[in-house]
């Protein structure tokens, strides 16, 4: 447990470029760019708001979708096409991190 926690805490991404992330978010906008959007498959629920979210959390979530550890077919398909750099850039953009 502690090892897992430390591993998670240590994998903070600080290399994202928010401007680059903005240029890569076309696939995100169809759902996450629409206030109140609800996904209909596999179950109906609202997609989360991502603006202002922790960059490290967003990066970890995208990597978990990419690996299949976090189960969502739509997000898996989208994340599968992202490099680590793409993920860090998107995380920086959505977190509002202008660095």
């Amino acid at each position: 447990m502690l090892v897992l926690l430390l591993a998670a805490a240590g994998s903070v991404s600080a290399q994202g470029d928010a401007a680059a992330g903005k240029s890569k978010n076309a696939m995100c906008q169809g759902c996450h760019g629409i206030d109140g959007f609800r996904m209909a498959y596999p179950t109906v629920y609202s997609v989360p708001m991502l603006g202002g979210q922790s960059a490290a959390y967003i990066a970890a979530a995208l990597k978990a979708y990419r690996s299949g550890d976090r189960i969502n077919e739509t997000m898996h398909a989208i994340a599968a096409g992202l490099t680590d750099q793409d993920i860090d850039d998107l995380a920086a953009y959505y977190s509002g991190d202008a660095k």
Binding site: S11, V12, M49, S54
Partner: protein, 113 residues
């Protein structure tokens, strides 16, 4: 690594508290009590604190998304050892109450268009 020690202590406290609450499963859901004794240690009482960089902000997040997340942590569909332990004792009613509680908090989150 040293700076995460307080987080580890707090998480250990969360897990012990979650276990204690599980024994009270028959009691009516008191969302505020669960928040104060379990969730707040990492997420803050309003869901906007981040104990570690990877702790998501949940204050004002979509309630049905929060409920789905807790159900997925409980079922194991979503893998996180801390949240699995926290969600394990939660009834469906407790999950709904907690999701509503955090969805109703002031939010630092927004839909980025």
């Amino acid at each position: 690594m040293k700076q995460y020690f307080p987080a580890i202590v707090a998480v250990a406290g969360c897990l012990m508290t979650a276990g204690a609450l599980a024994e009270e499963a028959a009691a009516p859901v008191n969302a505020q009590e669960i928040v104060n004794t379990v969730c707040a240690m990492c997420h803050g009482e309003d869901g906007n604190k981040m104990l570690t960089p990877e702790t998501p902000k949940i204050g004002g997040q979509k309630g049905d998304y929060l409920a789905k997340s807790l159900h997925d942590y409980k079922s194991g569909d979503r893998k996180n050892p801390i949240m699995a332990a926290v969600a394990a004792p939660l009834s469906d009613e407790a999950i709904e109450a907690l999701a509503e509680y955090f969805a109703a908090q002031k939010s630092e989150l927004y839909t980025l268009k």
